[in-house]
Every structure is written in C-alpha cells, then in structure tokens.
Amino acid sequence: MLETLTDKLGGVFRGLAGRGRISEENVREAMREVRTALLEADVNFKVVREFTDAVVEKAIGEHVIQSLKPGEVMIKIVYDELVKLMGPVDTRIYFVTPGPTVIMMAGLQGSGKTTTCGKLAKLLVSKGHHPLLAAADLQRPAAVEQLKTIGEQVGVPVYTDPSKVAPHGQVQKGAAVAVCRAAIAEAKKTGRDVVILDTAGRLHIDDALMGELKEVNAQLKPHQVFLVLDAMSGQDAVNSAKAFNEQLELDGLILTKFDSDTRGGALLSAKMITGKPVKFLGVGEKLDALEEFRPEGMAQRILGMGDIVGLVQSAMENFDQEETAKLQAKMEKGTFTLEDFMAQMAQVKKMGPMGKVMGMIPGMGDMMKQVNMKEGDIEKSLKRMQAMYQSMTVAERKKPDLIEHGRRRRIARGAGVEGGEVSKFIKDFEQSRDMMRAVGSMGVMGKFKMMRALAKGDLAGLGMPGGPMLKTKKSGYMEKKDRNKKKRR
C-alpha cells in the first residue's frame, strides 16, 4: 500500500523533479491521495482534514520546492507530521507514595479491558511491583470468573465480591464503587502497591453505566485512568474517546488487538481528540503481549507501509545482545561474512512469532497464504544451507566471491543440492549483507525504500535478520514453523 501511495505521489509529482517548482495545486493533489490513505486506515475524517490542511501548509513551504524528489519528500513530511501528532511519547506509569497507586481501566464493550488488566499486572510484576486486580465488571456474565482466571495465570491476587454482581444485568447503584473501595482497602491491608480496577464495558452514551464510572472516579479518585480501545475501531472512535475523556479525564490510551491486520487509524483519532498519550499496544492474546507505544512504526502502518521499524526492532530485541552487537559492528565495517550469516540464521529462530510481525506488513498476510508451505519446509531449507556451508572451505566461507563455477559444483555435490541453490544461497547472503549495512545507517527515506522492496516481495532484500528465510512464492520457501511456534492452543 505504501507502494501505491508512493507511486501515486510519484505520479503527481512526475516531471517536476529538478524543475524546482511545485504549485500549490500539486501539493493539494498529493494530499488527496494522502487523505484517501488515511481514511482507508480509519483515521477520523475530521482528523484527516486537520492533518492534510496542516501538511499542505508545510509542503507548500520550502521543503518540497527545494527538493529533487518531491514525491518522497512529501511522504517524509506526511510521515514526520504523523509521528509528531502521535507523540510526545509517554509510556510511563506514575506511582504514588504511599501506595497503593490506583489505575482504572475503562472502555466500550469488547474492547479488551479484562485481558489488558492482566497484561498490565504482569508487566508491573516484572518491574517489581505487587499489583492487586479488582473485579469491578459486575455486568457481563462471568466477567469476574474471567479476571480470576487471568489473575491466576499471571500470579496476581484478584479481589472479588460475588454478592455485588448484577443478577440480571441491571446496574446496582453503588455496587462498583463498593467493590473498588474494598479492593483498595484490601491492597492496603495486604501490602499491594498497585490496584488495577477492571470495570464493565459500556457505551459512552449509556447514562446509567457512565454514571457508575463517574461515581467510581469521583469517590475513589484513581491516580490514572486508561481508556482501552479496539485498534480495529472505525470513525466512531473519536466519539467514544471524547466522551470517556470528558467524563473521566483520561490519563492515557491503550489500543488493543494490534496483532490484527488493521491499519489502526483509530489510534491517531483517539490521540488527537483526547490529547492523551498512547501508553501501550495489545499485540496478542498472551498475557505478555503488551508493548510500549512507538509512533514511528505506527505512522508507517497507518499510511499502509507496515511496521518496518517495529519489525526490525523486535527482531533485534530478541537477538542475543552480544551476538547482535558483534554482527552490527561487522556490518558497519562491511566485514559481514558467510560465517556471520549462518550465525544470524541460528538467531532467527529466536526471533519469535513471525506471524505477529509479518501480519503488520500490508499485503503480507495474503502473500503468506499464497506460498502454501508445508510444515517443516523451513527446517529442511535451513538444513540445506547448513550442508552447503559445511561443504565450503574456510576460505570460501570468508570470501564467497571465490566461489566460481567449479567450486560451486563441488559444494553442491557435497551438500547434495543443485548448483543453482548454492548460487541463490550466496546471493541471499550478499543481499542480506548489503541491506544489513544499509539498515544501520538508514534514515526515514531508506526505510521507505526498504518498504518498497518489501512490497515487491523482495524479502531477501529486506536486510533484516531472517530476511533470507522469508521468501515469496517465486523463490520458494518461507519461515513458517516459527510462525506457528507461538500457537496458543
């Protein structure tokens, strides 16, 4: 999709490069493409309008006019502006002393509050805190049981009071307040330093339920109130976010279900309408699938460019730090060898849920389906690479350039593969090496270029660790086993 946006913008500006002058008309035309991209990503239309107006002003200024490649510069302006609007980044949770710090979760039905409570509790535990979960969703049948189970899973106590559960869905006045109050008292008694209040999902126009929430807010004064919002939300996200913010004074936003293939424009809408920072993203059903928010990747995703930054980063994070540092130094110096490449391959396995990251890339989902891979294929191809590597001399491993026709035949025979496969193996390595070098020194535009390579299906050229393993149909194999490794059931 970035492809199309870049292409479209390229089209708008074609022939203008070098002439040094771009009319307001050109910029406006380009903005129409940007507008469509944003609307298709579910950014609210009012937010889109504000956004494009602001960008037009910027673009008509110096940047574009002085540029040689106006299309790319336009994208950069759009991207930078998006990043700016989604910031400033503040993913901190503020604690009070003496405790307990009270955090309240609010949101529409089905947005993912209960699961997010569990994730947050787990995160806090990992940072040395001792949270207590409070089951204040007294409306949805079995919501209390759900939180209890989640509490067990993350090893955090859950305060419940079954007597307060609404018998037939009717709101019982004061019940939620009572549960929250008792939970806070319990936390004090048992020395828990954080209380997370799981509240019932409600429509922002439901007066009875919003009243209940306001009551909890007014009486117990939670130190932080987070709105939990479904990343797949459409235009209406602004209405609910606005209403919750007005009635509760939110402190932050948590967007859930970002492991879907939504472009996630609701995030931008909610951020803009509330002015409150996005704290976390929910990226899976597992209770550790909560990530701190980074605007850079999100801007690309909303524009339909895929979370390339996030992809590279998450790959990096899961790498052996030392090993990665070593590899990086080599890349920068341009001394990345086939040996390193194989070490990198071994690391790829640790990279984690490919499905998760791949899903972030527009078009990838479809592409992966087309590949039609059998389980274990990847294992096989890894083995073949290993075999080819083993058949090489030390000199060849250090300097694959040495491998001409004769050597190639020898290696192929030794590894029991076709000669062509050896060539491809080396080519993959070279691409990986070149792109790895580029990633280190990559600016925004570089990442865009990379994205374009990606959209063409040229994953080997991605230059991210593991790139060579993610092939499209044309070139054969694709990482699949790792994708399924994190199967939840």
């Binding site: 049981e145 759900q146 126009i205």
Partner: protein
C-alpha cells in the same frame, strides 16, 4: 411485525442518543427546499464517511448527486436523500436474509468472529429469538474453550434463557464440544443448535484452521450442517471488517452477518463494502446487552437510521 417495529424504535432511540452526543441532528442535513451546493455535497460525504461507509462508496454516492445536480436533474437537498437511499439500497435488492433451517433434525448455527465482537451475547439473543419468537427447542454449545470465563458466560445465559447447553472444561478441544453437541442435539430432539466459538483474528491462521475443523466436525455429524455460519461484526469496527468478512467467509463460508452494538453511536456502514465485495447479507442486528435486543436486519430501516430520517 411488532418485532420489527420494536427494532426500529430501538434504532430510532439509539440515533436520538447519537444526536445528543454529537450535538447534531442528521435530519438537519437534507433540509427541504434548500439548494444544493458544493459545501453541502462535502457535508454529505463526511456524514457517509463518519458512518464508516468508506471512501469509495461515499465518493460514488456523492458524485452521483453532483452529476445529477450539474445536469439540472435535481436542485434541492431533500432530493439527495432519495439518491442516497437508492444508491444504498440497490445492492441489497434480491439478497435473501432468511435463515436456512434443516428439513428435518437439528438446524446448526455456527457463530464466529473476532475477539469481543459480541458473539456470545448474540448467541443469547438468537437463543431468545428462536425460543420465544419461533417457539423452537434450542441448545447452545460452549465452543469457546479458550477464553477465561467463556464457558461460564454462556452457561449463565443458558440458565437465564432456560435452554440446554453442552460444554466441556476450559481448554478442551472445541471441535469435541461441537461433536458432543451435535450428538446431544440429535438425541434430545433439539430444533436449533447454536455453537459458540472463541474470538479469533483473521491474522491467526492456525485459529482460522481450527474454526474450519469445527465446521467440518459439525458437517459430518449432521446432514447439511452448519445450516448457517454467522459472522458477528462489531458495528464500531472500521474498514478492517471487510477483511474479517473475507477471511472468515473463505474459511467457513459465512452465510450471514450479525451486526452487533448498533445501539452506540457507530453505524457500521462498512457492511456496504462487505455487501459490494463479498455479497454476504446482514441477517440480524444487535441493539443492546439483553437477549431481546436483537432485530432482523432491514436495509430500508437501516438506511433510514443511518440518515436519521423520520419514520412513519
């Protein structure tokens, strides 16, 4: 028909609330006698966008208006309302929204959707509808064995509604639950069996495959089953709903959509794109959290509600 008008009242009152929140009344848009101009057309487009109708459809509708206006065929704003209605309703003509029932033996309805869409609640609503409106013997199957509390949730609904339930323990094989439910439905002479499933995202291929497996099990146990495979969509969902419909549609051959949570301020206009691209009809709408908050989907009513037009 009392049922339908009740639904319409519900929709109307939901829209009244919409107006309160947005502080605008959609009816102010198509003022009779007021002339069309570009500003007005821009506003119509934004209203359509705001309802999640999508860029392509919104632009198409507005350009139809613009063309007719420029050709002098229409002049006043209220005439545009007709165009919207025509444009929006045309695609729905001729699609059946009736449920398919088994000729004999239990009718099986498989319910699927993304996490939190409203599946379980919609099942409670369907169960209520079949039992109370159609006087059928209903059974539900707790096929969400994954999410914490899910089995319990459906159990509570079954108790409240007085319908049978087949369930296993949490983390049991969902297909096994479906299997047992089919057998139980046959032996107990159940008319309608509704199978709940865990929420899953279109990106989770292994879970989509699991859903296919559940469908296959059901198909093996009962002839012609599932007679309906209903996808629950959250009306607040944006353009991603198209992809949901695509993926679930391919996996289990979705026969209809339940558009849940229409009692909020979201309009679920994305169903238009789903209709155009995939031709999956919306069969029911969800209008609240209690079992009676269900209505059959009626395109004319829906469009009226979408536009905020007064009912007779």
């Amino acid at each position: 028909m009392a049922f339908l008008s009740k639904a319409y009242d519900k929709l109307k009152s939901a829209l009244k609330k919409t107006a309160q929140v947005l502080n605008t009344d959609v009816r102010t848009l198509f003022v009779p006698g007021r002339q069309i101009n570009e500003e007005f057309l821009g506003e119509v487009e934004e209203r359509l966008l705001a309802a999640d109708v999508g860029v392509a459809n919104s632009e198409r509708i507005v350009s139809t208006m613009r063309d007719r206006w420029r050709l002098g065929k229409i002049k006043n704003r209220d005439q545009c309302q007709e165009i919207i209605r025509e444009e929006m309703l045309a695609g729905w003509a001729g699609t059946s929204r009736e449920l398919t029932f088994a000729a004999s033996g239990p009718t099986v309805i498989l319910v699927a959707g993304v996490n939190g869409a409203g599946k379980t609640t919609s099942i409670a609503k369907l169960a209520w509808y079949f039992k109370n409106e159609l006087k059928k013997k209903v059974m539900v199957a707790a096929g969400d064995t994954f999410r914490a509390g899910a089995v319990h949730q459906l159990t509570i609904w079954a108790e409240r509604l007085g319908v049978d339930i087949v369930k296993h323990k949490q983390n049991a094989d969902a297909a096994a639950v479906a299997y047992d439910a089919c057998e139980a439905a046959k032996t107990r002479g159940v008319d309608v069996l509704i199978v709940d499933t865990a929420g899953r995202l279109p990106t989770q291929e292994h879970l989509i495959r699991e859903l296919v497996k559940i469908r296959d099990v059901v198909a093996k146990r009962i002839e012609g089953a599932p007679h309906e495979a209903l996808l629950v969509l959250d009306a607040t969902t944006g353009q991603n709903a198209v992809n949901q419909a695509k993926v679930f549609g391919q996996a289990i051959n979705v026969t209809g959509i339940i558009l849940a949570k229409l009692d909020g301020t979201a309009k679920g206009g994305v169903i238009m794109s789903i209709r155009d691209q995939l031709n999956i009809p919306v069969k029911f709408i969800g209008l609240g959290e209690t079992p009676e908050d269900i209505a059959k989907f009626d395109p004319a009513e829906y469009v009226m509600a979408l536009l905020g037009e007064k009912g007779e």
